[in-house]
Symmetry: C2
Subunit: 348 residues, 2 copies
């Protein structure tokens, strides 16, 4: 006795409540986009991290999609370096550009700070003319071995903050994500072809409509747990054809654990939604190789064109490359080049 | 046509595979416990963060329990301060003692580092007799406003590392958690009454047996998603009566969103498993009040004893208290006092 409903994007937004923070977030995005549009800067929306599907209104349990946010956070840095303004729309607490180098679990920053024992237990410092000397405590410094990398990261971080080219938004649930994506795309539409979408977030295919959520924590002790979820509407369709009016350059991602599904599923997505690139990655090799699948007319060169008019381009880095070499550097360079071609050829 | 099975702890461990890292982890725990047993130190196992239930063998989707790990990470600090040796068994990437003060999202450490522009772009420093001068880059220092707190956190962190009183273990899935808990409890049993269990992790009540997992990512596009999960065995029962032989002082937690369920559920748990304390917290007020429920014979004083022989003790902090006042300070003080009484009264 299944009572699952099929939601179109339209019926989704008509029946599911908007998050409370939406209006405020959109207002800030508008200011950011207007500022960079005036400066003639290209803007990329990077989505990153996994979405949740709460099982209860007062959330204790939720379904999640595996993603630390590494791809998105790393890519955002390379877009910034290339002069793009970046809207970084990410799962709360997932990795972020710059600070990702010092995740508190894998490279905890407390480990590379040292306290210097000076003669006195505390130093004092004059805080300006006429002010009292202030106790500032023992001097803290960064270990020599960490300085070089930290200086580089910190300099890039400070430069980006000064230039105001990074704007951060957070989501938790798939509902937050869908509402934000639609609203941000409407703001980006003023940029026409200067807008790029880099949709790296791991978005749930399923959700529980608000109307089916139980208010309190589901009680155990009553045997097994049954969950039945509805399909999330295919949001790429209205994104491509309505919200961006076919102007923006749109890159989506496919993650599969069975590599044989990667290219066929990428082609199906392109045929169905009509966007520019699908980047396919399989779970176990995503740091060393990805495949770009694109319709021939949106690709620069037809490396391996075929009867159906799709081009596949593999980007690989050597598994023995130094850890400082990140595949995102090559991915972003390739995309920026394709985006420029897209801008230059106004009619496709 | 439900095919759910009811697992006892015994049938669970007989049918579900042990995590690959178990043996190595247990070996390190054994060394840690032996060292502190020799020193006559009390040892607490703190569990922290949520467990996952993967829906696929190559995990893309999983069920999760809401928990940032704040309670566990904060409590571990107070146990360390009181002289306990702490085994901190936590969800990978959840908050940890000390570094929790600088979560990269809410208080990012890059924001409080400053680069000092000296005359030259880089400093050099002699790295010892006969070595070449080494480029160390511009000097990096900590903003004045952050120094006082950082010095305090850093000093405590370095002292704990020097004393070797903190041992960290990580889990991701509920299966990791269950295997680790059983193995660690066997190692802790040599401590008898000197062992304390502080089970603050948010453990799933449901799981998918390995035998029901699909190998690859569940494909969407085939309508709605149906998940049916089995109940996780009630692990507190064998923990109390078998693995710890009734010797250890065991504290479990109940989190509810409906406050009226809190005390009744805590009493049911105590009656069923026979351990020492249930700490009840409701989702929305857990930072300002919790309730200790304990059998009268395991409580120091009978503040509100009742016919069924349970004692309820509320611990509250003022909602207007300064943010530096943490409820965990009072929770741990109360527990340490109860643990000492438990040690002193060998026969209950």
């Amino acid at each position: 006795m299944s009572e699952s409903t099929t939601f179109s994007a339209e019926s989704y937004f008509a029946t599911q409540p908007a998050p409370s923070f939406l209006e405020e977030d959109v207002h800030k995005v508008r200011e950011f986009v207007e500022r960079h549009a005036r400066a003639g800067r290209k803007v990329v929306l990077v989505t990153s991290g996994g979405t949740t599907v709460p099982l209860e209104l007062n959330v204790v349990r939720f379904l999640d999609n595996f993603s630390a946010g590494t791809r998105g956070a790393t890519s955002a840095e390379y877009f910034l370096k290339a002069g793009y303004a970046v809207i970084f729309m990410h799962r709360q607490f997932s990795l972020q550009p710059f600070s990702r180098h010092y995740s508190h679990s894998t490279h905890p920053f407390l480990d590379f700070l040292e306290m210097e024992q000076t003669g006195a237990e505390t130093e004092t410092k004059l805080d300006g003319v006429g002010s009292e000397p202030q106790r500032v405590g023992p001097h803290i410094s960064v270990k020599l071995s960490e300085r070089t990398q930290l200086v580089e990261v910190l300099a890039a971080y400070k430069a980006v903050h000064k230039a105001g080219t990074l704007h951060t938004l957070t989501f938790v649930t798939v509902n937050d994500y869908l509402w934000l994506l639609r609203a941000v795309s409407q703001e980006l539409s003023v940029l026409g072809r200067n807008a790029l979408y880099y949709l790296a977030a791991a978005v749930s295919d399923f959700f529980l409509p608000r109307q089916k959520l139980s208010e309190h924590k589901i009680q155990s002790g009553k045997g097994s747990l049954h969950i039945e979820m509805d399909q999330v509407p295919k949001i790429l369709k209205p994104l491509v054809s309505e919200w961006t009016q076919g102007q923006a350059f749109i890159v989506s991602f496919k993650l599969e654990t069975d590599p044989s599904l990667l290219v066929p599923k990428a082609r199906t997505a392109l045929a169905r939604y009509g966007h520019q690139v699908v980047i396919g990655n399989d779970l176990h090799h995503r740091k060393h190789r990805v495949v770009f699948v694109a319709p021939a007319h949106a690709s620069r060169a037809a490396q391996s064109d075929d009867a159906e008019g799709f081009v596949e381009t593999w980007i690989r880095i050597d598994t023995n490359a130094p850890p400082s070499k990140e595949i995102e550097e090559d991915i972003i360079a390739e995309l920026i080049s394709r985006h420029q071609s897209w801008i230059n050829h106004t009619s496709v």
